[in-house]
Amino acid sequence: MTTDPTPGTPSPAGQAAAPEDPAGAEPAPGRRRDLRAAVLIGVLTLLLGFAFTVQVRNSDDEQLLAGAREEDLVRIVDEVNSRGVRLRELIADERRALRQLTSSDSETASALEEARSRAASLGVLNGTDPALGPGLRMTLRDPDDAVRVTDLVDVIQELRGAGAETMQIDGVRVGLTTAVTGTAGALMMDGRPITAPYEVLVLGSPQDMETALNIPGGVVQNIGSRGGSVTIEQVPELVVDALRLLPEAQYADPEDD
């Protein structure tokens, strides 16, 4: 126990505070104590190095804010706030886009539906699609070959005036550009010869059309005065299935706005 420090060592905190310690006088008898002391010193210094490194690393990321000055903190808070505002705006934009996409989806569907129904009615009107519905079946007999182009055109006009939606005469669909040509007894529809008796299938309100045809001085009377006759039969379900080719527009382009 020769290395015992003096009992009056003043400070527990450091060797320097006790320079009068008679340490290291003669460490001969304590070889095992030396070893133990060395191990203890090694462990303690190891702990110190470890704690030192950990603390340095720790303060690196945490004291960054704790040690920042007030104006720096204010600036950082400002930045964070404006970043939050930007992100919120971004979220709102994305939400709006999402809403637009979902609603335009249904808009597209309804537009498609409308386009389909328009295509269907245009197909009936133009004669590119077969049509089915109530209407009249008329038979124009012309034993004297006296029915002229104008008489047939009158029939068509009268039917159209009475609300006919689509018709066919002797298997030729009447459309927008249908022409009736030829001479009496050798009439042609759209360049195709037709022969009496002419069979007219027309879709529309049967009563209206029959009334229109039968008015005094009208089509039926006119053909009768030429020696022909017209029989009219109302049909609740008539098929107009003669088709026309839709002429392709050569000069006119649709103008979209």
Binding site: G14, A23, L46, F50
Partner: protein, 110 residues
């Protein structure tokens, strides 16, 4: 030699492991490190003075750390933890300066 090896090993270990300091230890760790540094400087000075004693070094090291942490802990309980931490750091810093001056005189003879 051993203290230097221990320090280097500890630093390497800290770099490799990189643990997060538990919250309850966070106020005490820097104080403890400074107190331990004080003990190490004191030991170095004693060695240069030729009066180094392992037992004194170990006891002073441990008690330094414990007393420093205890002071800060008491300060925390009393609501003056930050001020007492500063006080401890100032005192230990002065001692480190004093020891460093003694070491300097030994090493540079000036």
């Amino acid at each position: 030699m051993i203290p230097i090896l221990g320090l280097v090993a500890g630093v390497l270990l800290g770099l490799l492991v990189d643990p997060t300091v538990p919250l309850w230890l966070q106020p005490y760790l820097p104080i403890a490190v400074v107190a331990a540094l004080d003990a190490v400087f004191g030991g170095l000075r004693a060695r240069l003075d030729g009066i180094f004693d392992a037992k004194v070094f170990v006891i002073s090291f441990v008690s330094n750390v414990v007393v420093a942490a205890l002071i800060v802990f008491l300060g925390d309980q009393l609501g003056v933890g930050a001020q007492l931490s500063t006080a401890v750091v100032v005192v230990l810093g002065i001692r480190i300066f004093g020891n460093a001056a003694a070491i300097r005189r030994h090493v540079f003879r000036a």
